[in-house]
């Protein structure tokens, strides 16, 4: 999924467990139905954590996850859609 489809971006780079999930939940609550939240994290554990959170959360759909590299650092991107 490209960044253009995300309606909002949450930057949690430099934050470790459990903050990425907690801040994702906070941002997700503020979304309108159909919105897609992009979460940008440097925590490798966020791949499993945000997946698990989305599976357990009503109305949250994990659209995509990808691992990229920015300036030599691994960056994990998550795309979560709020159900219509």
């Amino acid at each position: 999924m490209s960044t253009e489809t995300a309606t909002e971006t949450l930057d949690v780079k430099g934050q470790n467990c459990p903050m990425p999930v907690i801040k994702t939940k906070g941002a997700f609550d503020g979304l309108a139905a159909g919105d897609v939240l992009e979460v940008v994290s440097t925590d490798s554990g966020s791949m499993s954590d945000i997946k698990g959170w989305a599976e357990s959360t009503d109305g949250a759909e994990l659209v995509d996850q990808e691992e990229t590299t920015e300036d030599g650092t691994s960056v994990y991107k998550h795309y979560v859609r709020k159900a219509e």
Binding site: G14, Q15, N16, C17, P18, M19, V21, I22, T24, K25, G26, T42, D43, W53, S56, T57, D58
Partner: protein, 195 residues
Amino acid sequence: MSADTPPSSDDEFSPDDLATLHAQIEALETEVSDLRSEVDEGSADKMVIIATKGTLDMAYPPLILASTAAAFGYDVTVFHTFWGLEILHEENSKDLGLSSVGNPNMPLPNAIAALPGMDRMTARMMRNRIEDNDVASVEELIETSLASGVDLQACQMTIDLLGYDEDDFYDGVTTGVGAASAFQDMADADIQLLV
């Protein structure tokens, strides 16, 4: 009674019997619908943690689990008792101690770790490591937990025992609670942990 009982057996029920049956069915239907709405209303998942330790390393598991469970939509209560109170004490929480003595996983031999000033050094090293690894501070996790709706409770008996005052704790911490309210919460919870 066999399946081919003649329909004439209906005659065995008097109009009074039928009326009683109808009334019973109605009462049961009401009861079922009441129970159903009760179950729906009380469907929020719930977790209770009893936090009894106040060292720097032991402050983390209850706070991390509590704030995470809140993000999963759980109603969360953390009942802090004995040294667990240190986590909620605004001043002490920023300076929680840690000792290498009696911890065989630490690189220092006990004879050296027991020297004056070594506990402070151990705590400082751990705090630096926490910061270097982008792990949130205890204070941050408390603020996050409170903002996520976690009920952080301070056991009243231990507050009195340790000579603390209600004002010593973070704003938003619940005081004036005891074992009975903790037990009641635990009885209603899906997950109960003692840390």
